[in-house]
């Protein structure tokens, strides 16, 4: 029973990792950009939520209404104003520029908010739980996170396969040059992709900020979880990314159960095992 409980917790928190990973996967898919600042943008959004909650006293989940559009704007501006200029064949410029941005965000947050760890209070929501009978209980909030992850990934799936914008994303992903010939404005489209990615990140950030303590230095760790979920799930598959996040969450949760020091290590080792045994990931997108 105790182990079942551990696994369930892992699955639910895997939803959060999948949300981190969705943004990373989206921008890689559309413009082949690996954003090293991804984790720091997650933390930035968490601090934006903190400021919004502190300033207005609203419930953290209502802060989503402020943080999500804000991060959408940040994403658009960041891509249009900076990252678009790094794209074009060579992998070094995007990698090193996002690495620089990562350092800038991290230190700016340290300067403004100090290294103290913070957390959003959600009026008892974070400790509430639902009893399933037989001694099993799941946290209400982790359940909300997981259901939100399902809903958002479902929405992203719809966006990708049922809308004009999604078609443009997929066309650009398949063949940038031809997509441009068909009248797609790359610069605008890339900026929209980053905007959508960071809007998803914003949701994940608010959940993170309620679920656990955060401080300016935790960004790189979140980047690694997101990256691992993408690779474990298989590139190009959103549901695969969810599975990747869940596997990571379960591995960490089982690791933590064995020894608290093994929590993060167990996640990394699960990732490396998948990389060695099945480098294409567990659910790669079928060749079309």
């Amino acid at each position: 029973m105790e182990w079942l409980d551990t696994v369930i917790q892992g699955v639910l928190i895997g939803g959060l990792y999948a949300l981190f990973a969705t943004g990373l996967s989206l921008i890689f898919g559309v413009m082949r950009l690996v954003n090293i600042a991804h984790g720091d943008l997650i933390v930035l959004a968490a601090y934006l939520a903190l400021v919004a909650v502190d300033a207005t006293g609203i419930h953290p989940l209502l802060a989503l209404l402020i943080v999500v559009p804000l991060m959408f704007g940040v994403g658009y501006a960041l891509q249009r104003g900076l990252l678009n200029f790094t794209l074009g064949g060579d992998i070094l410029p995007p990698l090193l520029v996002t690495f620089g941005i990562s350092i800038i965000i991290q230190n700016a947050l340290l300067e403004i908010f100090s290294p103290d760890s913070r957390r959003l209070q959600a009026a008892g929501l974070e400790t509430a739980s639902i009893h399933l009978g037989g001694g099993l209980a799941v946290g209400t909030f982790p359940l909300i996170i997981f259901l939100a992850a399902l809903a958002i990934i479902g929405l992203m799936q719809l966006l990708f396969y049922r809308t004009k914008l999604g078609r443009a994303f997929r066309a650009t992903s398949d063949d940038q040059e031809t997509a441009r010939l068909m009248g797609i404005d790359n610069r605008h489209l890339f900026a929209l992709a980053m905007a959508v990615a960071l809007a998803v990140v914003a949701v994940a950030s608010v959940f993170l900020a309620v679920y656990t303590n955060f401080d300016p230095t935790i960004g790189p760790g979140r980047l690694l979880y997101a990256f691992e979920a993408v690779i474990v799930g298989g590139l190009g598959s959103l549901w695969g990314t969810l599975a990747g996040g869940v596997i990571l969450g379960v591995a960490q949760s089982i690791g933590a159960k064995i020894d608290p020091g093994w929590q993060i290590l167990a996640g990394h080792l699960a990732f490396l095992a998948v990389l060695v045994l099945r480098p294409q990931g567990l659910f790669p997108r079928m060749a079309s």
């Binding site: 090193l96 620089g100 941005i101 800038i104 300067e111």
Partner: protein, 354 residues
């Protein structure tokens, strides 16, 4: 004069590179004599510059020549450093041989590591190397015999075996640092002038083309990765021989790689001169801004971003372009229509390979 055949010759050295070699030898003699002419703070900063230079050259070899952009080189700083502590403090090997053994250990561990991270390409390789570095950090944090998360210190007896007095220890560490810095530059230079260097740049420019011309891409990359691990591990071991105290969070800190990347990017990636210039700029900035803590890091990040966007060839690239300067000529240049050796202005020059 008919157009062809023209007089031509293949040139490797330049007059400047020969002059530079002379100047370099003079500078080196001065640096070696530093313990007698400078004070211990000069020695500390020059020693630090020397091992940062070694770290930067190793990363430059990976990212600038082999196309292996790693953000996980702190793995080998930490592995070299911990291996030193194991050899010296646990197994009782004298410190200087222990340095070499530690570097060797880092290189040996790099082999299985490569088989895992080489499954990832390009930018994914970069983040993969970071994950691996985290794995090593967490593993050492779990190893209680090495002090676990809080780390350990070198026992006093070992410290004394480096040198009896503090001044003597500083001198030994300084000379070793200098030797590592010079050896790293020499290694990269000689490697790039060899046929392996040619294979390397071919891989960086096009993996498919180099493979089809008979270059064994995997083997070449693996050997570079392992060589860089050796150099990085050696520098890491020396750094912690100087610090005398180690912890997983410090030794496996991403900050090592961040500093290295900054040095190479600002100086000029894919050149030997670049990291040398970069390390000097880095230390000047550090001395000027060190008191500002986070602002210093923000400035470094912003400078790196600006350089990457506006002048991706780096500071040395700008100099080399403007003045055709090469202190470490690794190119073969075909000079057309020149009979006299060593004339510098050459509008007809063609670079055959770079």
């Amino acid at each position: 004069m008919t157009a062809l055949p023209q007089a031509y010759r293949v040139e490797r050295g330049t007059r400047l590179s020969r002059l530079g070699a002379l100047g370099g030898a003079g500078l080196l003699a001065l640096l070696v004599a530093m313990p007698w002419i400078g004070d211990s703070s000069d020695m500390r900063i020059i020693g630090e510059i020397a091992y940062y230079l070694a770290l930067a050259q190793m990363w430059n070899l990976l990212a600038g020549y082999a196309g292996l952009v790693s953000v996980g080189q702190q793995a080998f700083v930490g592995l070299g450093a911990y291996a030193l502590f194991v050899f010296a403090a646990v197994l009782g090997v004298p410190p200087l041989p222990a340095l070499l053994l530690a570097a060797l250990a880092a290189a040996v561990i790099a082999i299985p590591t490569a088989f895992v991270v080489f499954r990832l390409r390009g930018a994914y390789f970069a983040i993969g190397t970071w994950v691996v570095a985290e794995v090593y950090r967490l593993l050492f944090a779990q190893t209680s015999s090495l002090g676990g998360g809080s780390g350990m210190s070198l026992p006093a007896a070992i410290v004394r075996s480096i040198g009896e007095s503090r001044a003597e220890r500083e001198m030994v560490v300084y000379w070793v640092a200098l030797a590592i810095g010079v050896a790293a530059v020499a290694l990269v230079y000689l490697l790039l002038r060899s046929r392996h260097g040619l294979a390397l740049t071919a891989i960086r420019d096009s993996e498919v083309a180099s493979e089809s011309l008979g270059v064994d891409n995997f083997k070449t990359k693996l050997s570079i990765y392992v060589a860089a691990a050796f150099g990085t591990g050696l520098a890491g071991a020396l750094i912690y021989l100087q610090k005398l105290r180690i912890s997983p969070d410090a030794a496996f800190n991403i900050g090592w790689t961040a500093d290295i990347i900054f040095i190479v990017v600002i100086g000029g990636i894919g050149t030997i001169e670049g990291p040398i210039l970069g390390v000097l700029v880095f230390f000047v900035l550090r001395e000027l801004l060190a008191d500002y803590g986070t602002w210093y890091m923000i400035v470094l990040g912003a400078v790196a971003v600006a350089v990457m966007l506006k002048a991706p060839q780096g500071a040395w690239g700008l100099v080399a372009e403007r003045f055709d300067l090469h202190f470490f000529p690794v190119q073969r240049r075909l000079r057309l229509g020149e009979k006299a050796a060593g004339t510098r202005q050459a509008p007809t020059q063609k670079e055959v390979t770079s």
